[in-house]
Amino acid sequence: MDRLGEWLFFYLVFPGATFAVALGLAMSWLDRKVTALVQWRTGPAPGQPFWDVVKLLGKEVVVPEQSWAAGFLALPFVGFAAATLAGTLTWHAALGLPGGALGDLVLVLYLLAVPSLALILGAAASGSPLGAVGSSRDMKLVLGYELPLVIALLVAVFQRRTVDGQVMAAATSSLEGLVRFQDAAGAVLYRPSGVLALLVAVVCCHAKLGFVPFDQAEADTEIAEGALIEYSGPPLALLKLTQAVQLATLPVLLVTVFWGGVETTPVGLAAFAAKVLLVLVTFVLVKNTNPRVRIDQALRFFWGPVTGIAVVALVLARMGW
């Protein structure tokens, strides 16, 4: 039972739900604040995302008449649980917490797809036509970015290195294994293939987070927040929390996979925080200096140049570059 207790602590407290939510809300405040600064505004007060969520939790839930109520209400929970789990596993591996190799890259990837899926299904379940358009766009976007994202992440798995005359590669999809490999052989990022792969992964994660220019699914001026349109109150709060958790997870995942884990020294922690912030600020700046592209343009972009670069990175990685 000790293991279960330990696991529950990881999942519910640190680095799981509680921590991820707190960090995610802080990051989403940072997102809004930087956005405001770019736009010459003051922006929200520090506690703003927290108050938003508390308020939504206290509001009434309106279930649209046309909808499949159970799914409509339950799917945000599923998405939140999956995002939290992904966050837990990622942080667990990044920090090298006790408990063995919990995290697996493929598993995390799948778990991170679940929130999108929950939103897609929830929107489809709402019975709203605009929700359906939103969910269709979201699904297409998922189709677009999953392929290059997978390729880019596999660069870390298959990158060949020569250490002390020995050719080696991580050759494991376990996150902890990847961290250990990078400890031994240096970060994946320090090779050309790693740089390219990180680039691709950042772009894909940008789309995963639904930021402009890839926010077609929630384009408020086109389809009135699309997939989110029918949600209100606590389910909406959960969706916002899910976004926050993803915001706290994806930069960490990228840094962990491509730039090594955390050394638990003050310097190591600070360096890790700086890396994560760098990725996050990149997201925010790109978000604020681009207009939304059309969904077909996004698909072409992902299946064209982005996948191309990812493939090049993979080939380079196999060649030991």
């Binding site: 405001a36 505004r41 308020k55 206290g58 509001k59 309106v62 349109i229 209100s232």
Partner: protein, 146 residues
């Protein structure tokens, strides 16, 4: 009056508004949008303009309500989750202003909403159009009422 619970405080710190122009002349609508922009920046107060009444706490209404707008307005009001309130921006929304004699106007927005929800609460911001500062002041007054 103003609730001191956590939720009440959150509500006052995070009022999300849905803007609904009911056949007005556009001027109030522009001043409302102006509230978002760098000079006035209502996001400082946690105000967000949202795209669906389902997400909103406050309905901003501008313009008189034409006969054709009447039903959609009532539907939008009912779509909003409780607690909810409405802010009447401009004389037209408050009292129909110069349109009171017009044949195709159904009534001021408060009357139209009260037809479906007698307990609805409103704050009125007169002006043609009211300045953004006035709209913000009205919004803050409304939050005190929630």
């Amino acid at each position: 009056m103003a609730s001191t619970s956590l939720f009440g405080r959150a509500l006052r710190r995070s009022p999300w508004v849905f803007h609904l122009g009911t056949s007005g002349c556009n001027n109030c609508d522009i001043e409302i949008a102006d509230c978002l922009t760098p000079r006035f920046d209502v996001e400082r107060f946690g105000v967000r303009l949202v795209g669906s009444p389902r997400h909103a706490d406050v309905l901003l209404i501008s313009g008189p309500v034409s006969i054709a707008c009447r039903k959609p307005l009532q539907e939008a009001w009912l779509e909003m989750p409780r607690p909810r309130a409405a802010l009447m921006v401009g004389v037209c929304a408050c009292s129909m202003g110069g349109y009171r004699d017009a044949y195709s106007v159904a009534g001021p927005a408060d009357k139209v909403i009260r037809e479906v929800d007698p307990d609805a609460r409103f704050v009125y911001v007169p002006g043609c159009p009211p300045k953004p500062e006035t709209i913000i002041a009205g919004l803050i007054k409304l939050l005190g009422e929630l």
